[in-house]
């Protein structure tokens, strides 16, 4: 009996802990799929230490979005823009809004980022975003892999080419669709985050086992390197993907590239990033890179990524990273505004 009582108490404790570290709070929105429900706050303490407040339609924002105010600036992105590692007033979208107000631009900045998104998601969601928010401008945050490996990853929404290999199409996985059983399970997981956390941990353990050294021949093969090399050698049609992105938003889009940071050589641009920049400029797409302010970070002896509880220059953006990103982005948005583009 005492074993059962102790076990139930321990599980209740872990459920409480899970609610702080593993965030559920999902709801199904017919326009935007699974989003955090309005009023939900996501806490993060494993990497960084932040709290992210969500308002309507899965927007990360301190205050509710007011549709009657001037058309908003929409920011789409992945976990780097979702930025659960920092608080609401430290995320670059909030800093951008403040900087724009100082420049006399009063458009609200709406952060619609979702962890795991890639260029395929930004293109696919364009019709809903444009019709629903009628944005003044759209910012799409990318990393160098958002047009390559991440955008072609099966298991989530991804690019695919037809049989001839020439025409690009976007494939949505069934996971994005709603169903009654899925909705019920989601409700259960919202009440007991430990269920979702357990599910996630089991998936992680299975994934962890897959990258372990192979049995009986660990000395001969290194599966991790093998996989990495295979990915590296694959060619992706980045040119066509950028075309699709431009078309999807009618050219009213800024590509914000979050650059990798090398403290020993902050200004040298890696080939993969250079490719995106060159293509964007060739196609007359507004483009900014956080690298533009990296030299300042070297002087300050800080990196844009990493936290005290993760690692120096690893993982997601810290406060400094968000600040430099907001700086470069606000300069670009002000420039676009000055050209009367919105």
């Amino acid at each position: 009996m005492k074993w059962a009582i102790a076990l139930i108490l321990a599980l209740a404790t872990m459920n409480l802990v899970a609610s702080r570290v593993y965030n559920m709070g999902y709801t199904f929105d017919p326009d935007f799929g699974f989003i955090y429900h309005p009023g939900y706050t996501v806490y993060s303490s494993i990497e960084g230490n932040g709290s992210a407040h969500y308002v309507q339609h899965g927007i990360r924002r301190k205050k509710e979005w007011n549709p009657t105010e001037p058309a908003p600036i929409i920011v789409l992105g992945d976990s780097f823009t979702e930025a659960h590692q920092v608080s609401d007033d430290e995320v670059y979208t909030d800093l951008l809004e403040q900087a724009l107000v100082k420049s006399g631009i009063h458009n609200q900045v709406l952060n619609l980022a979702n962890s795991g998104n890639s260029a395929a998601d930004y293109i696919a969601s364009a019709p809903q975003v444009l019709s629903f928010f009628k944005p003044a401008w759209v910012v799409v945050q990318v990393m160098d892999d958002d047009f390559t490996s991440d955008a072609w990853q099966i298991g989530k929404r991804h690019f695919s080419s037809d049989a001839s290999g020439k025409t690009l199409k976007i494939v949505s996985e069934p996971a994005l669709e709603n169903s009654q059983s899925k909705a019920m399970f989601l409700t259960l997981k919202n009440y007991f985050p430990l269920i979702g956390f357990t599910q996630r941990r089991i998936q992680c353990f299975i994934a962890g086992m897959k990258v372990d050294a192979p049995m009986f021949c660990a000395g001969r093969a290194n599966s991790k390197n093998f996989l990495r090399d295979e990915k590296k050698n694959k060619k992706y049609p980045v040119d066509e993907e950028i075309n699709l992105l431009k078309e999807a938003y009618g050219g009213r889009v800024t590509i914000l590239l979050i650059s990798r940071f090398n403290p020993n050589d902050p200004l040298t641009v890696p080939v993969s990033e250079q490719l995106i920049e060159n293509l964007a400029r060739d196609k007359n797409i507004s483009f900014v890179s956080s690298r533009a302010r990296y030299a300042d970070l070297v002087v300050k002896r800080v990196a844009p990524f990493g936290f005290g509880n993760s690692g120096y220059n690893t993982g997601h953006m810290n406060r400094c990273g968000h600040q430099v990103t907001a700086d470069v982005l606000s300069s670009e948005i002000v420039r676009l505004h000055n050209y009367d583009l919105f």
């Binding site: 802990v17 956390f197 050294a213 000395g219 005290g308 993760s310 120096y312």
Partner: protein, 492 residues
């Protein structure tokens, strides 16, 4: 198979289940030997043959040594054992190192010898020392040779300590071969508790601190002096928790099976002198080096100068045992010098303490921490850069304050307070410290015959005691890294 991996848990569960199902004693031992071979082959099956060849050679040599009284013949069999063991170790572990150094010398003559493309067999340093001690003990007539190759193979291949120790001597393990092995309720409870403590040290402290130490040692020039200091301190705690965690896990698994392994660590970071440190750190290695190297060299019986030389030689070879690199020699040499220096001052003080306990502790820990730099650094250049940074020679660098260090230090302090409570109980069974009182209140037990911490006692345990255990186990499931990281001592 790393002890903290899912594969190992599956392997352990199957092994224990089958051992529990088999009723015949000899069959249990046979199965254990087969399971151990499987464990070793799971890393790379090609080196299993090497392990078995070594076990056959030493088994045979030991029997030949015991069957003759002719000194020369006994010595010849011993030399055969030593040459074969050290030859295999030298070939796999040191051959490329010697070639590298020879090439550096021969470069001016335009001569270059090509490297051998060989892989270091896992655990070779540990099982070589184990087999060496066995034949030497038989030669010294300290133990009788094992008459059953099956028993001997079970001893040599015993999987919990095969890869990274503790270095178990035949005199400790072979007398246990008569036991009926297999899991019992008591063995599982005590073994699991010890395993859990080791697992916690590994995944919650060592692996976390690796994320602090690894990037700093990978690129020390990048960081500020303060960050490098934090990295060095982090490594100092990491290596202790990694290795002592592994040792606890090995001892725990052996206990679940039914064997007792010697303790390997006894709170070394409480040592007030370097001599005490080596009595508490990697105890099975330090006692091996003392019994089979330092004493045969003459120990302290041949005058003061020879004592210091013997100490230096022992530690230099001890350093080289860890790895084929001059960095390890430097680490061993530094410890040798420190031991010789401590011995010198102790003799001058008439055998008394050289410094006050607190000052002694502070200096010892400072020395030990700094000595880990060459041990961890990948090259002499990295060692030099780290030392330059530590003593602020070489300008500025990135400021990174890793907070894990400040979470882990209180955990380590808590562990040491608990350890001191248990040590007190071992020395004086009537003693009852605060730590012990808390443990008793929870209904847990402390095995005063070992250094191991508390374990759950089925009958008296309270709901709070069980609750803590469940939260502990669940925390590991939910927060331990899902990708296994190898133990530091696996590379030796």
């Amino acid at each position: 198979m790393i002890f903290s991996s899912v594969r190992f848990f599956i392997f352990l569960a199957i092994t224990l289940a089958i051992l529990g199902l088999i009723s015949r004693r000899d069959l249990k031992k046979r199965f254990l030997a087969v399971a151990s071979c499987f464990f070793y082959a799971a890393w790379d099956w090609r080196y299993l043959g090497l392990l078995l060849v070594i076990s056959v050679i030493d088994y045979f040599c030991a029997i030949q040594i015991s069957e003759t009284n002719m000194r020369k013949r006994r010595k010849a069999w011993l030399i055969l054992s030593l040459v074969s063991n050290l030859g295999i170790l030298g070939w796999f572990k040191y051959f490329n190192f010697f070639i590298e150094n020879a090439n550096a010398l021969l470069a001016q003559f335009g001569v270059s010898i090509s490297h051998l493309d060989i892989l270091l067999p896992a655990g070779i340093s540990f099982y070589t020392f184990k087999t060496l001690s066995y034949t030497i003990d038989v030669y010294r007539k300290e133990i009788e040779p094992c008459r059953s190759w099956l028993d001997y193979a079970t001893f040599i291949t015993f999987f919990p300590e095969l890869i990274a120790g503790p270095i178990v001597r035949g005199s400790v393990f072979l007398p246990q071969m008569g036991r009926s092995i297999g899991p019992t309720k008591e063995r599982l409870i005590v073994g699991f508790s010890i395993f859990l403590q080791g697992f916690t040290k590994k995944v919650f402290i060592a692996d976390r601190l690796a994320t602090v130490a690894d990037p700093i040692f990978a690129n020390p020039g990048l960081y500020s002096s303060f960050s490098v200091w934090l990295g060095v301190v982090a490594y100092s705690i990491q290596i202790f928790c990694d290795f002592s965690g592994y040792s606890d896990m090995a001892i725990g698994v052996a206990k679940m099976i039914g064997y007792d392994l010697p303790e390997n660590f006894n709170m070394p970071y409480l040592s007030a002198s370097i001599t005490e440190f080596w009595r508490r750190w990697h105890m099975t290695l330090s006692s091996w080096l003392k019994d089979y190297l330092y004493i045969p060299l003459g120990g302290n019986r041949k005058g003061r100068a020879r004592t210091y030389i013997n100490l230096m030689l022992t530690m230099l070879l001890g350093g080289l045992w860890h790895g084929a690199s001059w960095n390890f020699v430097l680490w061993g040499g530094a410890h040798g010098l420190a031991l010789a220096g401590h011995k010198y001052w102790s003799v001058r003080k008439g055998g008394g303490a050289v410094l006050s306990p607190w000052m002694g502790w502070l200096l010892t820990q400072l020395f030990v921490t700094l000595a880990w730099v060459p041990f961890r650094a990948s090259s002499f250049q990295v060692t030099e850069t780290v030392f330059r940074k530590l003593f602020a020679v070489g300008g500025s660098g990135a400021r990174w304050v890793p907070v894990w260090l400040f979470y882990c230090i209180p955990l380590v302090i808590f562990g040491h307070i608990l350890g001191l409570s248990i040590e007190k109980a071992r020395k004086d069974s009537s003693a009852c410290s605060v730590g012990l009182r808390i443990i008793k209140k929870l209904g847990w037990e402390v095995d005063s015959s070992t250094i191991a911490g508390p374990y759950i006692c089925g009958r008296r345990v309270t709901i709070l005691g069980l609750y803590i255990l469940f939260v502990w186990v669940l925390s590991i499931f939910y927060f331990a890294p899902t990708q296994t990281s190898p133990f530091i001592y696996f590379q030796f």
